[in-house]
């Protein structure tokens, strides 16, 4: 049996295909694991495909696809699939990683303690920490600091006021700092902190 595709389907495929790796990479950072990421990409592709005939401006497909996949991510969060969150929401507000490292002095013989701390984290560990953030903050932090979108673009992507985006970024940064410290302690990357954490 032969199958037929509409011109829209072919145009959609042509537009989206070059962005599949990007979409999967973004999904992988938003989601709890690779399986969930693949599901998220498929869900976003379906949603984008349905919206494609009404899409007037096709000049910035990546931004549009980012909007669609982020929206799917938020839908999942609202439906109770937060993609794992482990960093406490209560105490990150006043947490300052720079000062914490000075206070705890996890590398007593080093004169570059902050750099030593950062060097504990390879890509896989950072992704783990990001997965521990509150999902709303996680999306904002990933879009801003991994992909370099401006607060204004994130406001457009997430359909949120710019003030909300800035607040999410601010809280997300604090959670990230707290998450980095907690990760280092929990995984015994900083021996002295075991005693004081």
């Amino acid at each position: 049996m032969t199958s037929h595709r509409s011109p829209d389907s072919e145009a959609f495929e042509q537009m989206v295909k070059p962005h599949l790796s990007y979409l999967y990479g973004l999904a992988l950072r938003l989601s709890a694991n690779a399986t969930e990421a693949e599901d998220l990409v498929q869900e976003a592709l379906l949603k984008a495909f349905r919206a494609f005939p009404g899409l007037r401006n096709r000049e910035r497909p990546r931004l549009w696809l980012t909007r669609v996949i982020t929206s799917c991510h938020y839908d999942r969060v609202r439906a109770g699939q937060p993609g794992r969150q482990t960093v406490s929401l209560d105490d990150e507000t006043n947490f300052d990683l720079f000062d914490k490292i000075v206070d705890e002095d996890p590398f007593p013989y080093s004169d570059r303690v902050h750099l030593d701390f950062i060097e504990l984290f390879d890509d896989a560990r950072i992704v783990e920490v990001l997965r521990g953030l509150h999902p709303e903050y996680r999306a904002a932090v990933i879009l801003a600091y991994v992909y370099g979108y401006t607060a204004r673009e994130i406001s457009e992507i997430t359909a949120s006021p710019q003030g909300t985006v800035l607040a999410r970024l601010s809280r997300g940064r604090r959670q990230l700092e707290r998450g980095l410290w907690d990760y280092a302690v929990e995984h015994r990357l900083i021996p002295r902190a075991e005693v004081r954490a």
Partner: protein, 79 residues
């Protein structure tokens, strides 16, 4: 003048270049006199560089790529 706490709260916005001119000038003045906040600024810069490094293309395994491309090709297919 601003306190170190106020300065630290604005460092990432400073790095984003999202402060207005006056706020930026106030922070510049603080940074020129505060070694601690300069350290925080450099630390923030390093954390951002670490995050930015994740922008590298994710390893899209061939089987995942094949599944996603298959899914994409199947959209809108009518028997």
């Amino acid at each position: 003048m601003i306190t170190c706490k106020e300065a630290v709260e604005r460092l990432w916005d400073y790095l984003d270049r999202s402060l207005d001119r006056v706020e930026e000038a106030v922070l510049d003045a603080h940074l020129s006199a505060c070694r601690h906040c300069c350290g925080e600024l450099e630390f923030g810069r390093r954390i951002r560089a670490m995050l930015r490094g994740l922008d590298r293309m994710a390893e899209l395994a061939p089987e995942v790529q094949a599944r996603l491309e298959g899914f994409l090709s199947g959209l809108g297919e009518q028997p």
